[in-house]
């Protein structure tokens, strides 16, 4: 292993990463890594908020911001309007902070990195090693792990920030990004190193008081990613964050803030996994994106949190607030999401089209199998003139799952000559699942146009038989037909994510037929 490798592993790299378990059933990320953890005491109060802030070495203003959110949260009630059924969540029966114990260990080169940790990343599909290869050891294959990595790489460059439970464990390619002026780091680091940017933009898209879950996040968020792309800079590579919930009974509350300054461009990928457990885990994240004049942001998510078992035991409760603010003229944002995991999904990535001629796009695949429930969609808030938005939603329900598309399109009085096009397709597999579409449309001027198309269909027996006559087994046939149904959205994903998403579709639907 050479010393030229550009990998900085910060904190939380543990030597005790245990060999992971293969073949744990259809959820292939269901293993857990045995790491000694540091927990804050269970429950939530001002002291916990102070502790989290202190653990992250935050300045006073950040603590005040958190406390303000916490006090606000105490006055709020959990929203119940979504089509979701789940038992009451006891917010005092959660750990709000957990991080690996071996904090002092900060390997500076790959030699010091536990190969087992690398194996963990490999399993997660984190292309960390891909970065290493491209960062200077191209062609060299100094270890079997590296051989695997070479086999896995397609030669694309992606900078990665990995968040393990509450802590960001490593960011790759920082130097090269820094040369381009791009800041890509954990949000806790950004709070310390770039307070002027964080102060200016944090909470400016999703205010502390926005909603119950976002407010909770504002009080207790532990880490997450921060991106700033300066004026006129096209980010030289894709940025990516992989989130993993590992510790038991622990909520994960990450906070992501992306700022694309005038004329800049960035594509950001987000992946999520968690171990299989028979208790539910809470996940309440906030993503804020600020897009300034002529800038463009693409944000892609493959969400594969553990969905619970066939009987609905366990799984992640996913309550996420994601919002992009096209703050200035001709700003452009595109959300693409593939939602296959979580027991409960409550998520509406939204676009505020404030700048004139700004554009928002939302492409979504939501798959719910077994006992999963998904209530997801988007909001397109047209405020500026000549704004455009496009929504393509593909919902797939199987087993006993319930899948709801909930969307809002608003044309404000000032948003003249604006347009929205919505296409909302549902596919049913079997006869015990449900698909629901709840579009809200508000048009407050006379020159704008809103189109909404919706279809609901079943997987056709003739299609399945045709595929099987050609040699595919039933699950392969369903996966193929469903992938066809999702094609428009899959095409909107970056290449490598599209491949992952396609196989995820197949995995998620295992056992849904026959």
């Amino acid at each position: 292993m050479t010393a030229t490798i550009d990998l900085e592993v910060r904190e939380g790299v543990d030597r005790e990463t245990v060999e992971t378990v293969q073949n744990m059933g259809s959820y292939k990320y269901g293993w857990e890594t045995e790491i000694e953890m540091d927990y804050a005491p269970k429950g939530l109060n001002e002291d916990i908020v102070r502790l989290i802030s202190q653990k992250n070495n935050e300045p006073e203003w950040m603590l005040e911001w958190r406390l303000e959110a916490y006090r606000r949260w105490l006055t709020m009630t959990e929203p119940k309007w979504a089509m979701l059924n789940y038992p009451e969540i006891d917010y005092q029966d959660q750990f709000y902070y957990a991080r690996p114990k071996s904090m002092e260990v900060k390997p500076k080169s790959l030699d010091e990195v536990d190969p087992k940790l690398l194996a963990t990343y490999e399993k997660l599909g984190i292309p960390l090693k891909e970065q290493m290869i491209l960062a200077g050891v191209e062609g060299a294959s100094p270890s079997p792990a590296m051989d695997m990595a070479i086999a896995a790489t397609e030669g694309r460059r992606v900078a990665v920030d990995a968040v393990f439970d509450s802590v960001s464990v490593g960011t790759t390619f920082k130097e090269e990004l820094a040369q381009a002026g791009v800041i890509f780091c954990s949000i806790s680091e950004a709070i310390r190193e770039h307070p002027e940017l964080v102060k200016k933009y944090l909470g400016s898209v999703v205010p502390q008081s926005d909603n119950f879950f976002a407010t909770l996040n504002s009080a207790v968020f532990s880490d997450g990613s921060f991106v700033y792309v300066p004026k006129g800079v096209k980010c030289p590579m894709e940025l990516s964050t992989y989130f993993r919930i590992n510790a038991e009974n622990t909520g994960q509350f990450e906070r992501t803030l992306i700022i694309a300054d005038k004329g800049s461009y960035v594509s950001y990928l987000e992946g999520c996994t968690a171990p299989k457990r028979d208790t539910n885990q809470l996940h309440a994240a906030v993503v804020e994106i600020v897009v300034l004049e002529d800038a463009e942001v693409k944000y892609s998510t493959v969400q594969n949190w553990f969905p619970g078992d066939e009987e609905g035991k366990g799984g992640i409760y996913n309550f996420v607030t994601k919002r992009a603010d096209c703050r200035e003229a001709r700003a452009k944002v595109m959300w693409t999401q593939v939602e296959t995991g979580s027991a409960i999904t409550w998520k509406y990535p939204s676009c505020i089209l404030r700048g004139d001629e700004s554009q928002g796009e939302f492409y979504s695949i939501a798959i719910a199998n077994n006992m999963q429930q998904a209530d997801t969609g988007t909001k397109m808030i047209h405020l500026g003139r000549n704004t455009r938005s496009r929504i393509v939603s593909k919902g797939i329900s199987a087993g006993k799952a319930q899948n709801t598309y909930r969307g809002l399109v608003t044309m404000h009085p000032r948003a003249t000559n604006s347009r929205n096009y919505t296409q909302c397709d549902s596919l049913l597999i079997g006869d015990q699942c449900g698909a629901h579409t709840v579009p809200y449309i508000e048009v407050k001027n006379t020159s704008s146009r809103v189109e909404h198309e919706a279809t609901t269909s079943k997987v056709d027996d003739d299609q399945l038989f045709y595929c099987r006559q050609r040699g595919m087994d039933e699950e392969e046939a369903v996966a193929l037909v469903v992938n066809g149904f999702c094609r428009e959205v899959l095409q909107a994903l970056p290449m490598e994510f599209a491949m992952e998403a396609q196989s995820l579709v197949a995995i998620s639907l295992e056992g849904s037929v026959g």
């Binding site: 045709y466 050609r470 193929l480 037909v481 066809g484």
Partner: protein, 251 residues
Amino acid sequence: MLKIENLHVKLEEEDKQILKGLSLEVPAGQVHAIMGPNGSGKSTLSYVLSGRDGYEVTEGSATLDGESLLDMEPEERAAAGLFLAFQYPVEIPGVGNMTFLRTAVNAQRKARGEEELSSGDFLKLVRTKAAELQISPDMLKRPVNVGFSGGEKKRNEILQMAMLAPRMCIMDETDSGLDVDAMRLVSDGVNALRSPERSFLVITHYQRLLNHIQPDVVHIMANGRIVKSGGPELALQVEQQGYGDLLAEVG
């Protein structure tokens, strides 16, 4: 190759007997044609052999080289070498024709314990076969059968047959909806596949197709059974006289 004995089949949902003691044997390397009036059970036979849901076999057997077909899943029959060219090929929106072909080819290879075909080998093979059937690169990219003309759909079926290289090919009214040129292309495609190890069962209403694909044996099917078998001249007789006399003759 294919041996059907005393096959009785009824519809699963209603008490309606479709095949009533059908027996048929197609030796390796031969082309057999089945002709018969509407409603005689020809399409049912092709579906039962390939394993489509909705039918119940009440009696009899069907084997492929001694292996019982009726106990197998549709995809197992396919991997064993049974291919059905559909009368109405099914559209699969969003799935590229090429992706479909590749998935099918590799699924069968996997089922047989063979290695998957590499992208390069697959592309080479599919391009050669497609060119022979005058299937354009554009048709390979388009979603399976979506927006294909009748002739394109049938040529696409033959392309799948050529790619999957089955040993027992059943063609269910492949000639329906074809113009003269398409018929020649399809027939040339089929004739190119004829070999001593491969057999064909060609279901058709018309003698026309059999001018292009010369059968070894022609069977006449009526009321769920084979009522008469003979050489190619039997097809000509049907063409000239219709089924009336023939059926009266066999009672």
